[in-house]
Structures are given as structure tokens and as C-alpha cells.
């Protein structure tokens, strides 16, 4: 709690702040679009938001959580989900320099 003095109300809120969501604390804000895919270096694709995961016939795949990690290293035993195997095979998303 910041113990503001009685004259602090003028400076406590930034009335000029834009309405859209920006980083509150210096970190990059997450996109606010309905779906995002975050490509993690040396790891999976994290899919967040409102989406379906289906097979080629449109049937939903087993899914037990909202945000999922999709394997992109090929080594997962839980495909399409990541199971951490990318670490065992030392998967790199950038070519070694």
C-alpha cells in the first residue's frame, strides 16, 4: 500500500492513459485478440483463447484445459500436445550458430 498524503489524489491516477490494454508493469502485454499462438523458443506453441482442436473430420480431440501447448518438435508421445520431450531431444527452434 502506498501511503499517499491527502493531496495525492491528483497524481495517483494517470488520466491520460490510453484505453487499450498496455503493459501495466513494463512487460509486454499479451495480445487481447480472441486467440493467440505463442511460439516458445526451443519449445511448444502455446495456444490461448477461444478455439477448437479437431481431427480432419472435424471431431474434437481430447482436450482437458483451456490453454494448450502443441508439440512442434515431433517427439511428444501425447501429440498434438507437448509432453516436455523437446528437452530430451534438445530441440532447437533456431539453427545453431
Amino acid at each position: 500500500m502506498s501511503m499517499c498524503g491527502s493531496d495525492a489524489h491528483g497524481g495517483a491516477h494517470d488520466d491520460d492513459a490510453p484505453d487499450d490494454v498496455t503493459a501495466l508493469d513494463g512487460g509486454p502485454a499479451r495480445s487481447t485478440s480472441r486467440q493467440t499462438i505463442v511460439a516458445f523458443p526451443d519449445g511448444p506453441l502455446l495456444v490461448r483463447g477461444d478455439f477448437d482442436i479437431v481431427d480432419p473430420d472435424g471431431n474434437p480431440l481430447r482436450r482437458t484445459r483451456k490453454t494448450v501447448a502443441l508439440c512442434r518438435c515431433g517427439a511428444s508421445m501425447l501429440k498434438p500436445y507437448c509432453d516436455g520431450s523437446h528437452k530430451m531431444i534438445n530441440f532447437k527452434t533456431e539453427p545453431e550458430s
Binding site: 505463442v38 482437458t64 484445459r65 501425447l78 500436445y81 507437448c82
Partner: protein
Amino acid sequence: MSSLLLDILNGPEELQPGATNPREDLAALTRDAIAATEDFAFDDDLQLTLFCLFELHYSGIDGTGADWEWHPDLIAVRRLLEQAYEAQLRSIVTLPELPEPTSAAVAGGLFELTGADGGPSMSRYVAKQATEEQIGEFLIQKSIYTLKEADPHTWAIPRLTGRAKAALVEIQADEYGGGAPDRMHATLYAQSMRGVGLDDSYGHYLDSVPAITLASSNLMSLFGLNRRLRGAIVGHLAAYEMTSSLANRMYARGCRRLGYNDAVAAYFDEHVEADAVHEQIASRDMAGGLVESDPELLEDVFFGAAAAAVVDTWMTGFILDAWNAGTSSLRSSATVPA
């Protein structure tokens, strides 16, 4: 000490005129025991006393008054114990070279720290050679934390802001079943315990486990209940998430090797998939996001992660030493059904 504490909790707050204050006795005993102990983390009475004091902030201790939670005399004893435990950890835990205070560098540093060889592996033992009785012991040891899985880290939520807070809440929502009580990780764990014939009521095996198992749980409560240590609780959670998927695959394999059904393995199966998600969010957004907004917490994030690894290595070592010597890792093996 722990028995005096339980007497206090079961008694009235008001003192009889002329009687000595048992809370003062407890504080004096605690000071003496801290001064005398050779190893706080492995001291049964000190760890059990601390565990019971922390427990007042979780589900409480059956039959005792709820008012004890914030009684200043008990908080004073808790602080004595917390300070001694933290001092031990600060002196023993070695930190890696600290990265730049950016999200990417913090995540990279945490992946390096948690990927380092932590000595003998519990998951390999469980996968390949644990007996039915040892799996039972393993589940008992783990239950001290896991029947309240996620709770100690939840204390951190109101102490974080922005990106780190959103990340922690996203992880915790999944730990608590994403709105489905039967998917809650602690609930899945209780199902595993029942599936192998164990009692899944919270605290049932408290007297059976060694100090180091209580120390592992107390570590999280210490970090979680002190706002000052919010960097450490975040680092601790990151370390847990980042060492989980592969280990849980091995635990599930051990369950199936011994012929246990999917209901027993479900907790471990769930963690293979869940923590592959959680580790990414925990390392970059939660730990990295916290350090970016609060760079002075960088060292404590790594302290929390390294302390988690150190204490859990001690716990694994204790259990495997017992098993390799052909004995039980529990204080009294009578509670494990044959």
C-alpha cells in the same frame, strides 16, 4: 514443542490467575531447540511445530479455535522458526550466475538451473524398481504437499501485478481444475491414494513422515506467506513446473508397471500435459514478468528455484537411502497397508 503447541491450541486463550503462560514456554523451548539443532531441515520437532503453525493459515487444526491463526504469541514463535529455516537455506543454497533482468534471460537461466543433474532420481526409481509398498510410501510422502497442491503458491497472487499475476492465475486456475472440482490436482491425487488403498484424508499421515518431507512443504509456506519473499515463491513454483512433465511420465509408468489402473495414474498423466503448458508460462511470463517489473527480485527468484531443488534433493536422498538400505522411509511403517 509440537506437543506443547497442540496443548496450547486445544486449550483456552485465557490464563488461570497465577499460572505460567504456556506460549512463553513454547517460545523459550523454541529458542533453545533452534540453538541446539544441528540441522533445521532434518529436525522432526522443529519442522512439525512449524508445519502446525503454518497449518493454522490453511485448513486449520481440527478441534482447535480458529482465533489462534493470528495470535501474536504464536506468530512470534512462527517467526523464530521461519528465521532459523531461512537462515539455514540462505547459507546452504548456492545461486547460479544471475542472468540479465529480462524475461527471456530469466527463463533461460531457470531452464539451465532446473535442467542440471539433481543427483539420484526418484522418478527413475519409481518407474523401474519401486515395489508396491514403496509406491505407497512415495504417495504418502508426496501427499503432505499434494493434498493441498497449489495452495502455498496461491498466497502470491495479491502480491504480484500485471503480466506475472495473470500468468500465476492462469497456472493456478488449471491446478484447481479449471472450474471442475473433479479435475483439481489435489482431488486427482486423493483418487490415486485411494486407488492404492491409502487414506486420503488431509493430515492422516502427518506423524508418519520424516522432518525433511515437512521441510519441503514448509519451504513453500515460508515463501508463500511472506510478501517479502514473493520472488522466492515465484521461483519455487517455476522450478516445480519446469521439472514436472518428464518426472510424472516416469511416475505414471511405475504405476502401470505395478498393474495399477488409470485412476491411480491419472494424477501423473495429467501433470505430463499440464506442466508442459505451465512451465512455459511460469518461466517467461510469471518469473520473467516479475523480474522485468521488479528487477530487485531477480536474486530471490533464483533463490526460490534453487532452494526448491536443494530441499527436494534432500528429501529424495532421504527416501532412496532408506529404500536402498532395505528399510521404510516413514517414521512408523505400521500405517502402510501391506
